[in-house]
């Protein structure tokens, strides 16, 4: 069961470089063959300074950037094999391009447990990761709500 004492807790920062090749890979896996995600040349030809961020590319920063994410979620008392994704929200504060170095800090912003009549319980946990770039500029807030059936 989710450990409520962790609400408000922030994990140590993690750092990730925004990689052109990973953006291309993600866009192609989704089935988006827009050339702006394929190469810097195509992005620049379309008027972008470099390969721009695919709208859901922040998912790369958590899974690839934060190597400790799974153990951090486990440390909250969550069984990661029973996690369902409830909500995902991105607030894009400033442009992010391939080559940027981002630092993310994940905070547990909310959590509650609902008891079912059959004795089961459902944890509802919300985390937020605030990202700044190599210039210290806030560039992205990523908020996620997960559901955990116990």
């Amino acid at each position: 069961m989710f450990d409520k004492s962790k609400i408000g807790y922030s994990f140590p920062p993690f750092t990730i470089e925004v990689e052109r090749g990973k953006i291309r890979e993600l866009a192609l896996a989704i089935g988006d063959d827009n050339p702006i995600y394929q190469s810097r040349e195509a992005a620049q030809a379309a008027g972008y300074p470099d390969v721009p961020l695919f709208p859901t590319a922040p998912t790369l920063f958590t899974f690839w950037g934060n190597a400790k994410m799974v153990s951090q979620i486990v440390s909250l008392g969550i069984n990661v094999m029973r996690v369902l994704h409830g909500e995902e929200e991105y607030e894009y504060l400033a442009p992010i391009n391939a080559g940027d170095i981002l630092t993310g800090v994940m905070t547990v912003v909310d959590g509650k447990t609902r008891q079912g009549k059959d004795g089961s319980s459902l944890d509802i946990l919300t985390t937020e990761i605030r990202y700044t770039n190599q210039h210290g500029q806030p560039v992205l807030n990523a908020r996620e709500m997960i559901l955990v059936r116990e």
Partner: protein, 150 residues
């Protein structure tokens, strides 16, 4: 607030009216290969999305797609519509599981036009449904658009 680079799309604030539909995106049927590819691209290797035996074991009845893949489909529609760097906010709620062979259609509509922080912005609602009309994702977005005179 930083001045962001303008997305090099052809859509202007004046072209958009409240109630307008966003050009819909119909995706190819979801395949097992696509889920394997998406797992590798995104870094989400939860076996729930790639290993049919695991799906049977935990009772989901076969593998289910990553929710983030379907959010990616909606992201593709928004990228096509306003361009990736025009997005200010994009959030979704996951409403149902997507399975192999599901054909996902992404749709959306403009709900508001407003000026904030010196930017002309549009807000909208988005949705992803399968071939039976079952809703997989509901969400909202905010994007900034250039004025025609700029």
């Amino acid at each position: 607030m930083t001045t962001n680079t303008q997305d090099p799309t052809k859509l202007y604030y004046e072209d958009v009216q409240v109630g307008d539909a966003i050009p819909k995106l119909v995706k190819a049927p979801v395949t097992h290969l696509q889920l394997v590819r998406y797992a590798g691209a995104s870094g989400d290797f939860n076996p729930l999305h790639t290993d049919p035996k695991f799906g049977e074991m935990i009772g989901t009845g076969g593998i289910i797609a990553h929710g983030m893949l379907v959010m990616g489909f909606v992201g593709q529609m928004l990228s096509d519509y306003v361009g990736p760097t025009a997005l200010r906010k994009f959030g979704v709620r996951f409403k149902g599981m997507t399975r192999l062979d599901d054909v996902i259609t992404c749709t959306g509509a403009i709900t508001e036009k407003h000026e904030v922080d010196g930017e002309a912005r549009i807000s909208g609602k988005v949705q992803a449904t399968d071939q039976n009309g079952d809703v997989k994702i509901m969400g909202t977005f905010v994007a900034t658009l250039p004025h025609r005179s700029e």
